[in-house]
Amino acid sequence: MDLRRDVFQAIADPTRRAILTLLAAHAMTPGAIAANFDSSRQTISKHIQILTECGLLKQEQNGRENYYHFNPKKMKEIADFIEPFRNMWDDRFNRLEAVMKHYKTKK
């Protein structure tokens, strides 16, 4: 469960979101990713590390090169994140509807 919270924190950062967008298109090496940003290679590598730790990126060795892939399954979990929020409102509105239907028949 802690992992899921980390995922949410991971995508709160704009640079990390930009990295995910890049990798959604195709797998890339850390150097190729860093070339897209003004930040130092070290900074980008830290971002990649965070994204990998929470499962949003997957690492794959291809010969001597390290490639990073985007993990769509993990993104699905983020989509599910708002489900409890939606449920809360759905319950609330179901009650509203029930109360008002009763109100209507009472009148």
């Binding site: 919270r5 979101r17 708002i82 008002m100």
Partner: protein, 155 residues
């Protein structure tokens, strides 16, 4: 299960869009937001104050049976057009979320059905995400508390 309530929250933005269709005429839907007794029935909170008019305000409070305050919120009503629109602020006391602005739009669909669209705007994307995560975090805590209870019983 039917998904009547839709929530839309785009990444990196600071608002939440909630839409819901009701099997109610728009007048009754609007009444559910402007009548204190009815609000208490569906929101489950006590209405301390409600001035349903332009430049009005409201105050809600929920306490447990022992009288401990669990939830307290207040806001001002910027504008109110009967059967159509409410623009208001909302702030939960001691929650650290700051105030948010809410646009509530009421629409009549077919006879006897209506639609409510709520746009909530927060001070920052971070505060919006925190708000969005709240029921999720609450769910984790509830599950954790239940586990704790079970663990305590086993002791």
């Amino acid at each position: 299960m039917e998904r009547k309530t839709k929530v839309h929250a785009e990444d990196g933005k600071q608002d939440i869009l909630i839409t819901r269709e009701f099997e109610l005429p728009v007048e009754l839907l609007f009444k559910a937001y402007t009548n204190p007794d009815i609000i208490t029935q569906w929101m489950g909170t006590k209405v301390l104050k409600l001035e349903s008019r332009r430049h009005g305000g409201y105050e809600f409070e929920t306490a447990d049976p022992q009288g401990n305050i669990l939830f307290k919120a207040h806001g001002t009503i910027h504008d109110l057009i009967p059967g159509k629109k409410i623009i208001r602020t909302f702030e939960m006391a001691n929650a650290g979320f700051d105030a948010q602005i809410e646009f509530l739009e009421f629409e009549s669909l077919m006879p006897g059905t209506s639609k409510l669209t709520i746009q909530m705007i927060f001070r920052s994307p971070e505060l919006r995400d925190a708000q969005l995560k709240l029921p999720f975090a609450y769910g984790i805590n509830m599950a954790h508390d239940r586990l704790q209870q079970i663990a305590n019983q086993l002791k």
